[in-house]
Protein backbone atom coordinates (compact mmCIF):
# COMPACT_ATOMS: atom_id res chain seq x y z
CA UNK A 1 0.00 0.00 0.00
CA UNK A 2 1.44 3.36 -0.96
CA UNK A 3 0.88 6.25 1.40
CA UNK A 4 0.45 9.53 -0.43
CA UNK A 5 2.89 12.22 0.62
CA UNK A 6 0.68 14.24 2.91
CA UNK A 7 2.91 17.25 2.53
CA UNK A 8 2.22 17.38 -1.20
CA UNK A 9 -1.58 17.11 -0.94
CA UNK A 10 -3.21 20.45 -1.61
CA UNK A 11 0.02 22.30 -2.38
CA UNK A 12 -0.22 24.65 -5.33
CA UNK A 13 1.52 23.57 -8.52
CA UNK A 14 4.76 25.27 -9.49
CA UNK A 15 6.55 24.89 -12.82
CA UNK A 16 10.31 24.61 -12.44
CA UNK A 17 12.58 25.81 -15.22
CA UNK A 18 16.33 25.24 -14.96
CA UNK A 19 18.84 27.03 -17.14
CA UNK A 20 22.58 27.38 -17.15
CA UNK A 21 24.37 30.34 -18.67
CA UNK A 22 21.28 31.94 -20.22
CA UNK A 23 21.84 35.64 -21.00
CA UNK A 24 20.23 37.76 -18.30
CA UNK A 25 18.26 39.80 -20.85
CA UNK A 26 16.55 36.66 -22.13
CA UNK A 27 15.87 35.53 -18.58
CA UNK A 28 14.28 38.87 -17.71
CA UNK A 29 12.20 38.90 -20.88
CA UNK A 30 10.91 35.41 -20.05
CA UNK A 31 10.14 36.42 -16.45
CA UNK A 32 8.25 39.53 -17.46
CA UNK A 33 6.23 37.58 -20.02
CA UNK A 34 5.37 34.84 -17.51
CA UNK A 35 4.37 37.38 -14.87
CA UNK A 36 2.08 39.25 -17.24
CA UNK A 37 0.63 36.51 -19.46
CA UNK A 38 0.76 33.19 -17.56
CA UNK A 39 -1.59 32.07 -14.80
CA UNK A 40 0.79 29.38 -13.46
CA UNK A 41 3.32 29.58 -10.65
CA UNK A 42 6.94 29.43 -11.81
CA UNK A 43 10.38 28.92 -10.33
CA UNK A 44 13.26 29.77 -12.62
CA UNK A 45 16.83 28.87 -11.75
CA UNK A 46 19.60 30.19 -14.01
CA UNK A 47 22.94 28.81 -12.90
CA UNK A 48 25.16 31.68 -14.04
CA UNK A 49 24.65 34.08 -16.90
CA UNK A 50 26.88 34.08 -19.95
CA UNK A 51 28.65 37.45 -19.75
CA UNK A 52 29.16 40.35 -17.30
CA UNK A 53 26.13 42.63 -17.49
CA UNK A 54 24.95 45.55 -15.38
CA UNK A 55 21.27 45.35 -14.39
CA UNK A 56 19.51 48.40 -12.93
CA UNK A 57 16.04 48.63 -11.40
CA UNK A 58 13.13 50.36 -13.09
CA UNK A 59 13.95 53.82 -11.77
CA UNK A 60 17.73 53.55 -11.90
CA UNK A 61 19.69 56.54 -13.25
CA UNK A 62 23.04 55.65 -14.83
CA UNK A 63 24.62 58.96 -13.81
CA UNK A 64 23.93 58.21 -10.15
CA UNK A 65 24.64 54.50 -10.09
CA UNK A 66 27.38 53.76 -12.60
CA UNK A 67 30.93 54.79 -13.43
CA UNK A 68 29.60 55.55 -16.90
CA UNK A 69 32.96 56.38 -18.46
CA UNK A 70 34.39 52.94 -17.60
CA UNK A 71 31.17 51.18 -18.59
CA UNK A 72 31.27 52.80 -22.03
CA UNK A 73 34.98 52.26 -22.48
CA UNK A 74 34.74 48.56 -21.63
CA UNK A 75 31.43 48.17 -23.50
CA UNK A 76 29.64 46.53 -20.57
CA UNK A 77 25.95 46.08 -21.45
CA UNK A 78 23.49 47.89 -19.18
CA UNK A 79 19.92 46.64 -18.76
CA UNK A 80 17.04 48.37 -17.05
CA UNK A 81 14.74 45.67 -15.67
CA UNK A 82 11.01 45.70 -14.97
CA UNK A 83 11.34 45.19 -11.21
CA UNK A 84 12.35 47.73 -8.57
CA UNK A 85 15.47 47.75 -6.46
CA UNK A 86 19.11 48.52 -6.98
CA UNK A 87 21.95 47.89 -9.39
CA UNK A 88 23.95 44.71 -9.74
CA UNK A 89 26.63 43.42 -12.05
CA UNK A 90 26.00 39.80 -12.92
CA UNK A 91 28.24 37.24 -14.59
CA UNK A 92 28.84 33.47 -14.75
CA UNK A 93 29.38 33.44 -10.97
CA UNK A 94 25.84 34.71 -10.30
CA UNK A 95 23.06 32.22 -9.57
CA UNK A 96 19.54 33.50 -10.22
CA UNK A 97 16.43 32.19 -8.47
CA UNK A 98 13.05 33.61 -9.43
CA UNK A 99 9.61 32.95 -8.04
CA UNK A 100 6.51 34.02 -9.91
CA UNK A 101 3.34 33.35 -7.92
CA UNK A 102 -0.38 33.87 -8.02
CA UNK A 103 -1.21 35.75 -4.84
CA UNK A 104 -3.82 33.12 -4.03
CA UNK A 105 -1.15 30.39 -4.14
CA UNK A 106 0.59 31.92 -1.13
CA UNK A 107 -2.45 32.89 0.94
CA UNK A 108 -0.64 33.98 4.09
CA UNK A 109 1.28 36.63 2.15
CA UNK A 110 -0.23 40.01 1.27
CA UNK A 111 0.67 41.26 -2.22
CA UNK A 112 2.86 44.04 -0.88
CA UNK A 113 6.66 44.33 -0.94
CA UNK A 114 7.46 43.83 2.74
CA UNK A 115 5.12 40.88 3.14
CA UNK A 116 6.55 39.05 0.12
CA UNK A 117 10.10 39.88 1.18
CA UNK A 118 9.49 38.53 4.68
CA UNK A 119 8.05 35.29 3.30
CA UNK A 120 11.10 34.87 1.05
CA UNK A 121 13.34 35.26 4.07
CA UNK A 122 11.55 32.38 5.78
CA UNK A 123 11.94 30.24 2.66
CA UNK A 124 15.66 30.87 2.41
CA UNK A 125 16.07 30.27 6.15
CA UNK A 126 15.24 26.68 5.26
CA UNK A 127 17.90 26.69 2.54
CA UNK A 128 20.76 28.14 4.55
CA UNK A 129 20.11 26.58 7.93
CA UNK A 130 23.45 25.34 9.22
CA UNK A 131 25.53 27.05 6.54
CA UNK A 132 26.20 30.43 8.03
CA UNK A 133 24.62 33.24 9.99
CA UNK A 134 21.91 33.78 7.37
CA UNK A 135 19.15 36.32 7.59
CA UNK A 136 17.09 38.73 5.58
CA UNK A 137 18.42 42.13 6.60
CA UNK A 138 17.01 45.38 5.20
CA UNK A 139 15.76 43.45 2.17
CA UNK A 140 19.12 41.81 1.42
CA UNK A 141 20.20 38.24 2.06
CA UNK A 142 23.27 38.32 4.30
CA UNK A 143 25.69 36.10 6.13
CA UNK A 144 26.50 38.11 9.23
CA UNK A 145 26.55 41.67 7.92
CA UNK A 146 27.73 40.86 4.42
CA UNK A 147 25.35 40.75 1.48
CA UNK A 148 25.37 37.82 -0.91
CA UNK A 149 21.91 38.07 -2.42
CA UNK A 150 20.03 41.05 -3.85
CA UNK A 151 16.26 41.01 -4.28
CA UNK A 152 13.70 42.77 -6.39
CA UNK A 153 10.00 42.41 -7.02
CA UNK A 154 7.15 43.37 -9.24
CA UNK A 155 3.53 43.14 -8.13
CA UNK A 156 0.51 43.07 -10.41
CA UNK A 157 -3.18 42.82 -9.60
CA UNK A 158 -3.19 39.07 -9.00
CA UNK A 159 0.46 37.97 -9.20
CA UNK A 160 3.92 38.84 -8.04
CA UNK A 161 7.51 38.07 -8.85
CA UNK A 162 10.38 37.92 -6.39
CA UNK A 163 13.76 37.42 -7.98
CA UNK A 164 17.20 37.18 -6.51
CA UNK A 165 20.73 37.36 -7.82
CA UNK A 166 23.02 35.33 -5.59
CA UNK A 167 26.74 36.13 -5.55
CA UNK A 168 28.10 32.62 -5.59
CA UNK A 169 31.29 34.18 -6.95
CA UNK A 170 32.19 37.50 -8.54
CA UNK A 171 35.06 39.40 -10.11
CA UNK A 172 36.25 42.15 -7.78
CA UNK A 173 37.18 44.37 -10.71
CA UNK A 174 33.58 44.31 -11.99
CA UNK A 175 32.36 45.93 -8.80
CA UNK A 176 34.34 49.01 -9.82
CA UNK A 177 31.71 49.79 -12.48
CA UNK A 178 29.15 50.49 -9.73
CA UNK A 179 29.08 53.66 -7.66
CA UNK A 180 28.24 53.63 -3.98
CA UNK A 181 24.47 54.23 -4.18
CA UNK A 182 22.94 57.26 -2.50
CA UNK A 183 20.14 55.09 -1.17
CA UNK A 184 22.03 52.36 0.63
CA UNK A 185 20.80 50.20 3.51
CA UNK A 186 21.81 51.46 6.93
CA UNK A 187 23.82 48.36 7.73
CA UNK A 188 26.12 49.09 4.79
CA UNK A 189 27.72 51.85 6.88
CA UNK A 190 29.44 53.41 3.85
CA UNK A 191 31.50 50.26 3.26
CA UNK A 192 33.00 49.78 -0.18
CA UNK A 193 31.62 46.96 -2.34
CA UNK A 194 34.41 44.59 -1.40
CA UNK A 195 33.82 45.15 2.33
CA UNK A 196 30.05 44.92 1.98
CA UNK A 197 29.50 41.75 -0.05
CA UNK A 198 30.66 38.16 0.33
CA UNK A 199 30.81 35.07 -1.86
CA UNK A 200 28.43 32.16 -1.37
CA UNK A 201 31.18 29.80 -2.54
CA UNK A 202 32.82 30.30 0.84
CA UNK A 203 29.76 28.61 2.36
CA UNK A 204 28.46 26.00 -0.08
CA UNK A 205 28.84 24.57 -3.56
CA UNK A 206 26.56 25.62 -6.41
CA UNK A 207 24.87 22.25 -6.57
CA UNK A 208 24.21 22.10 -2.83
CA UNK A 209 22.66 25.57 -2.95
CA UNK A 210 20.40 24.76 -5.89
CA UNK A 211 19.40 21.38 -4.47
CA UNK A 212 18.52 22.86 -1.10
CA UNK A 213 16.59 25.68 -2.72
CA UNK A 214 14.49 23.26 -4.74
CA UNK A 215 13.93 21.16 -1.63
CA UNK A 216 12.67 24.25 0.22
CA UNK A 217 10.30 25.03 -2.68
CA UNK A 218 8.86 21.53 -2.37
CA UNK A 219 7.78 22.31 1.18
CA UNK A 220 5.49 25.02 -0.17
CA UNK A 221 4.62 23.93 -3.71
CA UNK A 222 4.11 20.81 -5.77
CA UNK A 223 7.07 21.34 -8.09
CA UNK A 224 7.16 19.92 -11.61
CA UNK A 225 10.07 20.41 -14.01
CA UNK A 226 9.13 21.86 -17.39
CA UNK A 227 11.09 22.74 -20.52
CA UNK A 228 10.85 26.27 -21.86
CA UNK A 229 12.46 27.59 -25.03
CA UNK A 230 13.81 30.89 -23.74
CA UNK A 231 14.46 32.09 -27.29
CA UNK A 232 10.81 31.59 -28.27
CA UNK A 233 9.65 33.94 -25.53
CA UNK A 234 11.75 36.84 -26.79
CA UNK A 235 9.84 36.93 -30.04
CA UNK A 236 6.36 36.75 -28.53
CA UNK A 237 4.60 39.37 -30.63
CA UNK A 238 1.68 39.81 -28.28
CA UNK A 239 3.62 41.31 -25.44
CA UNK A 240 5.64 44.50 -25.02
CA UNK A 241 8.58 44.20 -22.66
CA UNK A 242 9.56 47.05 -20.41
CA UNK A 243 12.96 45.45 -19.68
CA UNK A 244 15.44 46.97 -22.13
CA UNK A 245 19.10 47.40 -22.94
CA UNK A 246 20.26 50.99 -22.63
CA UNK A 247 21.60 52.39 -25.87
CA UNK A 248 25.05 53.95 -26.15
CA UNK A 249 23.59 57.45 -26.48
CA UNK A 250 21.56 56.98 -23.30
CA UNK A 251 24.76 56.16 -21.40
CA UNK A 252 26.68 58.99 -23.06
CA UNK A 253 23.99 61.42 -21.91
CA UNK A 254 24.74 60.27 -18.36
CA UNK A 255 28.41 61.16 -18.53
CA UNK A 256 29.46 63.95 -16.21
CA UNK A 257 29.86 67.26 -18.02
CA UNK A 258 33.51 68.27 -18.20
CA UNK A 259 34.05 71.99 -17.87
Amino acid sequence: MTVPQASKVGLPLMNLVRFKGVPILKQLHLEERLLRTSSDNWCIVNDGTNAPTIVMGLSGKPSELLEVGSVLQDKVPVIKRFTGGGTVIVDPGTIFVTLICNRDSVPGVQPYPRSIMHWSGLLYNEVFEGFGDFRLHENDYVFGNRKFGGNAQSITRKRWIHHTSFLWDFEARNMAYLKLPQKAPEYRLARSHMEFVCRMKDYMTRSVFIDKTLKAMENHFSVRPVEVDVDASVHDAGFVHSTKVLMKHELEEALPISI
Binding site: G57, L58, S59, F82, T83, G84, G85, G86, P107, G108, V109, Q110, Y112, P113, R114, S115, I116, M117, N139, N151, A152, Q153, S154, I155, T156, R157, K183
Partner: protein, 154 residues
Protein backbone atom coordinates in the same frame (compact mmCIF):
# COMPACT_ATOMS: atom_id res chain seq x y z
CA UNK B 1 -8.74 67.00 24.23
CA UNK B 2 -9.08 70.35 22.43
CA UNK B 3 -6.68 69.27 19.70
CA UNK B 4 -8.57 66.03 19.15
CA UNK B 5 -11.82 68.03 18.86
CA UNK B 6 -10.12 70.37 16.35
CA UNK B 7 -8.77 67.40 14.39
CA UNK B 8 -12.19 65.79 14.37
CA UNK B 9 -13.77 69.01 13.04
CA UNK B 10 -11.04 69.38 10.43
CA UNK B 11 -11.53 65.77 9.37
CA UNK B 12 -15.26 66.36 9.12
CA UNK B 13 -14.72 69.51 7.03
CA UNK B 14 -12.38 67.63 4.70
CA UNK B 15 -14.78 64.66 4.75
CA UNK B 16 -11.95 62.42 5.87
CA UNK B 17 -12.69 59.59 8.25
CA UNK B 18 -9.58 59.72 10.39
CA UNK B 19 -10.58 57.91 13.55
CA UNK B 20 -11.93 54.76 12.04
CA UNK B 21 -10.74 52.41 14.79
CA UNK B 22 -7.10 53.20 13.89
CA UNK B 23 -7.29 51.99 10.30
CA UNK B 24 -6.22 53.88 7.20
CA UNK B 25 -8.18 56.98 6.25
CA UNK B 26 -10.79 57.19 3.51
CA UNK B 27 -12.57 60.16 1.95
CA UNK B 28 -16.35 59.90 2.17
CA UNK B 29 -17.39 60.98 -1.31
CA UNK B 30 -14.74 59.10 -3.25
CA UNK B 31 -15.22 55.71 -4.90
CA UNK B 32 -12.79 52.83 -4.44
CA UNK B 33 -11.49 49.85 -6.41
CA UNK B 34 -10.59 46.51 -4.82
CA UNK B 35 -7.03 47.09 -6.03
CA UNK B 36 -6.86 50.10 -3.70
CA UNK B 37 -7.20 53.03 -6.07
CA UNK B 38 -9.64 55.88 -5.43
CA UNK B 39 -11.70 58.00 -7.79
CA UNK B 40 -12.89 61.56 -7.27
CA UNK B 41 -15.54 62.38 -9.84
CA UNK B 42 -15.48 65.92 -11.26
CA UNK B 43 -18.14 66.02 -13.95
CA UNK B 44 -16.96 63.64 -16.65
CA UNK B 45 -13.43 63.58 -15.28
CA UNK B 46 -12.13 61.05 -12.80
CA UNK B 47 -9.19 62.01 -10.62
CA UNK B 48 -7.32 58.81 -9.65
CA UNK B 49 -4.81 57.96 -6.96
CA UNK B 50 -3.93 55.18 -4.54
CA UNK B 51 -5.49 54.97 -1.10
CA UNK B 52 -4.01 55.58 2.32
CA UNK B 53 -4.26 51.82 2.95
CA UNK B 54 -2.21 51.14 -0.19
CA UNK B 55 0.49 53.71 0.49
CA UNK B 56 0.86 52.47 4.05
CA UNK B 57 1.29 48.87 2.90
CA UNK B 58 3.62 49.79 0.03
CA UNK B 59 6.11 51.76 2.10
CA UNK B 60 8.03 54.84 0.98
CA UNK B 61 7.38 55.49 -2.69
CA UNK B 62 10.61 56.43 -4.47
CA UNK B 63 9.38 56.56 -8.07
CA UNK B 64 6.11 56.81 -9.96
CA UNK B 65 5.88 55.64 -13.56
CA UNK B 66 3.24 57.81 -15.20
CA UNK B 67 1.39 57.14 -18.45
CA UNK B 68 1.47 59.51 -21.40
CA UNK B 69 -1.31 62.07 -21.67
CA UNK B 70 -3.71 60.76 -24.27
CA UNK B 71 -3.17 57.11 -23.34
CA UNK B 72 -6.25 54.90 -23.15
CA UNK B 73 -7.04 53.20 -19.85
CA UNK B 74 -9.51 50.41 -19.16
CA UNK B 75 -11.25 49.59 -15.90
CA UNK B 76 -9.06 47.17 -13.95
CA UNK B 77 -6.12 47.52 -16.34
CA UNK B 78 -2.73 48.81 -15.23
CA UNK B 79 -1.64 52.25 -16.41
CA UNK B 80 1.51 52.85 -14.44
CA UNK B 81 3.51 51.75 -11.44
CA UNK B 82 4.95 52.91 -8.14
CA UNK B 83 8.28 51.75 -6.82
CA UNK B 84 8.82 51.14 -3.10
CA UNK B 85 11.01 48.78 -1.09
CA UNK B 86 12.65 47.26 -4.18
CA UNK B 87 9.27 46.51 -5.77
CA UNK B 88 7.34 47.95 -8.68
CA UNK B 89 3.60 47.73 -8.04
CA UNK B 90 1.03 48.22 -10.76
CA UNK B 91 -1.47 51.03 -10.47
CA UNK B 92 -4.79 49.99 -12.01
CA UNK B 93 -7.41 52.32 -13.41
CA UNK B 94 -10.80 52.20 -11.67
CA UNK B 95 -12.46 53.54 -14.83
CA UNK B 96 -12.09 53.36 -18.61
CA UNK B 97 -11.32 56.38 -20.73
CA UNK B 98 -8.46 58.63 -21.82
CA UNK B 99 -5.72 60.15 -19.67
CA UNK B 100 -6.09 63.94 -19.88
CA UNK B 101 -3.60 64.96 -17.22
CA UNK B 102 -0.85 63.38 -15.13
CA UNK B 103 0.59 64.71 -11.89
CA UNK B 104 4.06 65.82 -13.03
CA UNK B 105 4.90 66.82 -9.43
CA UNK B 106 5.36 63.12 -8.72
CA UNK B 107 8.45 63.06 -10.94
CA UNK B 108 10.28 65.24 -8.42
CA UNK B 109 8.32 64.34 -5.30
CA UNK B 110 7.13 60.72 -5.46
CA UNK B 111 6.68 60.84 -1.67
CA UNK B 112 3.52 62.91 -2.16
CA UNK B 113 1.78 59.57 -2.72
CA UNK B 114 2.60 58.68 0.89
CA UNK B 115 2.22 62.12 2.47
CA UNK B 116 -1.01 63.14 0.74
CA UNK B 117 -2.55 60.16 -1.06
CA UNK B 118 -5.97 61.82 -1.57
CA UNK B 119 -4.86 65.35 -2.42
CA UNK B 120 -1.48 66.43 -3.77
CA UNK B 121 -0.53 62.76 -4.35
CA UNK B 122 -3.18 62.28 -7.08
CA UNK B 123 -1.77 60.40 -10.06
CA UNK B 124 -3.87 60.81 -13.23
CA UNK B 125 -7.06 62.44 -14.49
CA UNK B 126 -9.22 60.42 -16.85
CA UNK B 127 -11.93 61.58 -19.21
CA UNK B 128 -14.38 58.74 -18.57
CA UNK B 129 -15.87 56.81 -21.47
CA UNK B 130 -18.59 55.16 -19.36
CA UNK B 131 -19.78 56.78 -16.15
CA UNK B 132 -21.79 53.61 -15.50
CA UNK B 133 -18.57 51.89 -14.45
CA UNK B 134 -18.60 53.93 -11.25
CA UNK B 135 -21.47 51.77 -10.00
CA UNK B 136 -19.14 48.79 -9.73
CA UNK B 137 -16.80 50.65 -7.35
CA UNK B 138 -17.09 50.68 -3.56
CA UNK B 139 -18.17 53.60 -1.42
CA UNK B 140 -15.98 54.65 1.52
CA UNK B 141 -17.75 52.52 4.15
CA UNK B 142 -17.67 49.43 1.98
CA UNK B 143 -14.01 50.03 1.15
CA UNK B 144 -13.06 50.49 4.80
CA UNK B 145 -14.68 47.17 5.61
CA UNK B 146 -12.96 45.56 2.63
CA UNK B 147 -9.57 46.71 3.93
CA UNK B 148 -10.29 45.42 7.44
CA UNK B 149 -11.27 42.02 6.05
CA UNK B 150 -8.23 41.87 3.81
CA UNK B 151 -5.84 42.66 6.66
CA UNK B 152 -7.58 40.26 9.02
CA UNK B 153 -7.28 37.36 6.58
CA UNK B 154 -3.46 37.56 6.52
Amino acid sequence: MASRLWASRAASYLRISAFNRGFASVVKDFKYADSHEWVKVEGNTAVVGITDHAQDHLGDVVYVELPEVGAAVTQGGSFGAVESVKATSDINSPVSGKVVEVNEELNNSPGLVNASPYETGWIIKVEMSDNGELKSLMDSDHYSKFCEEEDASH
